[in-house]
Amino acid sequence: MDPTLVTLFIGLITVLAAATLIGQILGRRAESTEARATVDNLNARIRAWWLMVAIFAVAFVFGKIVTLVLFALTSFYCLREFISLTPTKPGDHTALAFAFYVFLPLQYVLIGIDWQSLFSIAIPVYAFLLLPVLAVLRHDTDDFLSRTAKLQWALLLTVYCISHAPALLLLKIPGFENKGVLLLFFLVTVVQASDVLQYIFGKLFGRHKIAPVVSPNKTWEGFVGGGLAATLLGAGLFWITPFTPLQAAGMALAIVLAGFSGGLVLSAVKRSMGAKDWGRMIEGHGGALDRMDSVTYAAPLFFHLVNYFFAA
């Protein structure tokens, strides 16, 4: 394990320990039912965070293959949640089987064998053209366009987009060889910190809702306060990246904005299907996709920015 990562994990554990302590203190002080519920939710989130940090630590210790398996499983659960909420018909079955059993594993195998050009087009070209063919062979044209679009978007967001996070390990950056894992750490930390900080700023100062219909918890105060704090955190992490402090702040800001958009768009998708959470997998967090929604937008953008400006 990279010595820098050891330092980073010690930092993370310190922050989480502090959060746990604060959560316990708040838990003793909360009196009203509403405050109780908020603190319980906060503590459930903190507990789930410990688990996620532990899983991440294991992935980073054991290297690329375990990291890829971890993200492939994440894609699997997100795709399953997405498809479970989407009304599919028996005519979609073969296309679904190909999405799950062929294109999902293929995407991560391509990262594993460093085949970046095919990684970039396997889903947007080959899957997008093949899946409708598999569906059309079943002779069911009812809602064909919307069924095709649903499956394609599900695959794009949950597999293609999320796979851009571990794909950071593919990038060859002069003077930053074999340190892709630090970029992955940077991305995940900024995205998740942005989510958490927007939640906290929103709870403390939130007055003006941004999109009351789509996402009632998002407020301007939370977005600006949490977003700026996450941008500063990203700038402060410049030393683990190939970026200058200013570049790191710019990258973090891009991640924050993309992550926010992803959260909003996926929330609208979820609501259009009549659900509040994508699933019930993680206590206090809803489903896997409820935690990964920001990553679906932030990962590809960050990947392409780094690839364009820094990779050889």
Binding site: L79, I83, P90, L96, A97, F100, G279
Partner: protein, 203 residues
């Protein structure tokens, strides 16, 4: 061992964790009756019953599917502990009552898992029930009739599909019901069906 593998695989692919809404697992004698849309139904409903109750809980399976081939037969009989029934009607011609093996099981004090539609439909809500449930309920009035709604199984593994796909499934248990004095067959079967429909609408 093999049962753990099968349940592990099913949980990984389609979930299917039990939700005990109207009742709790119990040693009392029961007939669990559920909607039917997939071969996953039998496996997931059986897997939803706690381990200690499984030896005395028998899914009722069609002999024309589960009785064919050594692997299927062995899964049905040795693993799922199933009671095979002949639904072809050939049994009636040979003077054998297709419900007889079910009644024998109930007489031993064991519980059953049955699919009263008789065949796999593809819809969200169950089709009309066949009369078997009425006959068993009349003959064994002390047995608890537990409605079970199986959600998404027919989407994950529809009729005619080769492989199941990963779509989250749920097994929802409702409150037990009993046949009422003087209730007609049609009224009872419709009430039983409605109990499953009501579970389908819970979220």
């Amino acid at each position: 061992m093999i049962d753990h593998i099968l349940i592990g695989l099913a949980r990984f692919l389609v979930g299917g964790r039990p939700e005990w809404r109207g009742t709790q697992p119990s040693l009392r004698q029961r007939i669990y009756f559920a909607n039917h849309g997939s071969h996953l139904d039998t496996i997931l409903l059986w897997a939803a019953i706690p381990t200690r109750l499984r030896p005395t809980t028998h899914p009722v399976a069609a002999a024309d599917y589960w009785g064919k081939g050594r692997l299927r037969r062995s899964v049905a009989l040795d693993l799922l502990n199933a009671v095979l029934v002949d639904r072809s009607g050939g049994g009636a011609a040979s003077g054998q009552d297709p419900l007889a093996p079910l009644e024998e099981t109930l007489e031993r004090g064991h519980s059953l898992i049955i699919f009263p539609e008789g065949t796999r439909g593809g819809e969200k809500l169950p089709a009309a029930f066949k009369s078997g449930l009425f006959r068993l309920a009349t003959r064994f009035p002390q047995v608890e009739l537990v409605p079970v709604y199986l959600e998404n199984m027919s989407r994950a593994f529809p009729r005619g599909a080769f492989l199941p796909v990963p779509i989250s499934c749920h097994v929802r248990f409702g409150a037990p019901l009993y046949i009422e004095g003087g209730e007609t067959k049609e009224a009872f079967l419709e009430r039983a069906r409605e109990a499953i429909v009501a579970l389908a609408e819970v979220n």
